[in-house]
């Protein structure tokens, strides 16, 4: 990945205001990340690894104390382009309840475009399109508080889409959802990535979500620890465990068997693991 990505973070340092009598601690300690247009990137790390702070760098909610972040060539410290950056890079937060503003779904989705000063007729079109894109059009007149967590999170995503962004950053969007809500949200963002070419940065600590990404970046202690395709990253089982992270059970199983001397490939999903084992086990007929 070179420097001409859509988002370029270069040697980003960041420290929150320290409490009195305490030394400031760098939450981000020299992070260089580049995200290409149309990519699906998963950003992994345990709590306190700096991944959420990094997310807020991408849309100028936070500014680096040292280093630079560029969005499509625009410097995030440049106040003149602040709203343009936030329009292009939308941020979806963890708690679905706390990011919806209006009491009616469609009015909430309209909030972003209204702030941008889009003409009313066009807002209507954008809102309907955005709601259809997340599969919530039928709920446009509902009250958000009556919806499930997964549905609320899709409304939040629609609210970002209505601003016609190039990129959506999602900060642990599934942490508070049940399995059904999680898969609803994941399906939605994968579809947006594939069909609309929207760049996705998914921050998560669920490994099965990261497995489906095009590229995985693992953060730890304010640094980038690992970076690469999911297979490349998850084959580092020991390193991930050392840094308080998990790997999918499928990956761990083949990894353990490798360690016992069986030449297994690294697998990421149930299906892959079953195939790998099937290829290696004696034929069924040979087993008593």
């Amino acid at each position: 990945m070179t420097e001409n990505g859509f988002i370029n973070a270069q040697d980003v340092m960041f420290a929150y205001e320290p409490e009195e009598g305490r030394e400031p601690r760098n939450v981000l300690d020299g992070v260089t990340i580049s995200i290409q247009r149309g990519e699906f990137v998963a950003l992994l790390g345990h709590n306190g690894s700096g991944k959420s702070t990094m997310a807020k760098m991408f849309n100028a909610m936070l500014l680096p104390t040292e280093g630079k972040v560029f969005v499509d060539g625009m410097d995030t410290v440049d106040e003149a382009v602040l709203y343009e950056i936030r329009r292009r890079v939308g941020l979806v937060l963890q708690n679905p309840d706390n990011q919806l503003v209006a009491s009616v779904v469609e009015e909430d989705v309209a909030f972003g475009p209204e702030n941008l000063g889009i003409p009313p007729e066009e807002i209507r079109v954008r809102v309907d399109e955005a709601l259809k894109a997340v599969g919530m059009y039928d709920f446009r007149l509902n009250a958000p508080y009556k919806l499930s967590g997964g549905q609320k999170q899709r409304i939040a995503i629609a609210g970002i889409i209505a601003m016609q962004p190039d990129c959506i950053v999602l900060d642990e969007p599934t942490a508070m959802l049940d399995p059904r809500g999680r898969s609803e949200v994941l399906e939605t963002i994968h579809r947006l990535n594939e069909e609309k070419g929207i760049t996705i940065v998914l921050i998560t600590h669920y490994m099965d979500e990261a497995v489906q990404a095009g590229r995985v970046i693992v953060m730890d202690g304010g640094h980038v620890l690992l970076e690469g395709g999911p297979r490349e990253v998850f084959s580092q089982v020991e390193l991930l465990k050392k840094h308080q992270l998990d790997v999918p059970q499928a990956t761990e199983l083949t990894y353990r068997l490798q360690g016992m001397g069986f030449p297994m490939p690294c697998t990421l999903t149930t299906e892959e693991c079953v195939e790998a084992l099937a290829a290696y086990l004696p034929p069924v007929q040979a087993v008593p």
């Binding site: 709203y83 941020l91 503003v101 009015e107 309209a110 972003g112 702030n115 007149l141 009250a143 508080y145």
Partner: protein, 271 residues
């Protein structure tokens, strides 16, 4: 359960009342409420009651929602009516000990009950048929002239929108915290006034903390969506008053005129 309270609840629909301009609705409801108190005799009161009933029917909102909102205030209605029963002149109808019920008192009681119930029903028609956003939007526009006095009309309207949005969420949260503290043996039901007030702390403090957390999150989410005050903001739903609004205005004005006329022609029954 606490979240069953129908507070400013919007019920989506496509009735005549739903489609009216919210600004017109607010002004007319306000006018109507004023005239509920102008009416001084049973003829005009009946006229107003019939009009309220017509509004309810035209709103197309199921009756149970209205019943629910009346049920919530039934106690207040009964209390004030009974109190009014003992005030007022006229001939004595009933005497219990030192308390007397006179004909004027009966009229007073009926009037106060009808007035409060009509007032609640009218506000219910307004909130049931108008989404909170259009409601605040309408208030924002109606108050626009106040900008001259440096009143931050947009900010006030935005605060109302958010408050309405978070009422159900916070009610639900209150429910949850109450359950959690009850599970730790908190006793919310017994003890004197001071003790009960003290027993509320384990509920109020977490509720405050969570409200601040939500407010912080929401502020961030709003900034992420390019919110920067009312400057240069557009609206998806443009308000425009149409023919039906004009008709509604005329009808209401005629009713109000009738109330005034009946007040002049007929004697007052209130004392």
């Amino acid at each position: 359960m606490i979240r069953d309270i129908a507070l400013g609840q919007y019920i989506p629909g496509d009735s005549l009342v739903h489609r009216m301009d919210p600004r017109v609705k607010i002004v007319l409801v306000f006018l109507f409420i004023v005239f509920l108190f102008v009416a001084q005799n049973f003829v005009s009161l009946l006229l107003l009651v019939v009009s309220v009933a017509a509004c309810i029917l035209l709103s197309g909102v199921p009756m149970r929602h209205y019943l629910k909102s009346v049920k919530a205030i039934l106690f207040i209605v009964l209390f004030t009516s009974v109190l009014n029963l003992f005030y007022g002149g006229g001939e004595t109808l009933l005497k219990i000990g030192f308390m007397e019920i006179k004909s004027g008192g009966v009229s007073n009681a009926i009037f106060i009950a009808v007035r409060i119930i009509s007032l609640i029903l009218l506000s219910a028609v307004l909130t049931f048929t108008t989404s909170p956003t259009s409601l605040t939007d309408a208030i924002e526009r109606l108050m626009k002239p106040l900008k001259v006095f440096h009143i931050q009309v947009h900010e006030i309207a935005m605060m109302m929108t958010i408050a309405l949005r978070f009422v159900p969420t916070l009610l639900e949260e209150t429910d949850k915290i109450m359950s959690a503290q009850k599970a730790r043996g908190a006793d919310l039901e017994s003890g004197g006034l001071v003790q009960r007030a003290k027993a509320l702390l384990p509920i109020l403090i977490p509720l405050f903390v969570s409200s601040f957390r939500r407010a912080y999150d929401l502020a961030m989410a709003m900034e992420c969506r390019c919110y920067h005050g009312g400057e240069g903001r557009t609206k998806m739903k443009v308000l425009h008053a149409g023919k039906r609004d004009a008709v509604a205005c005329v009808v209401v004005v005629v009713i109000c005129a009738a109330v005034v006329v009946s007040n002049i022609v007929l004697p007052t029954v209130l004392s």
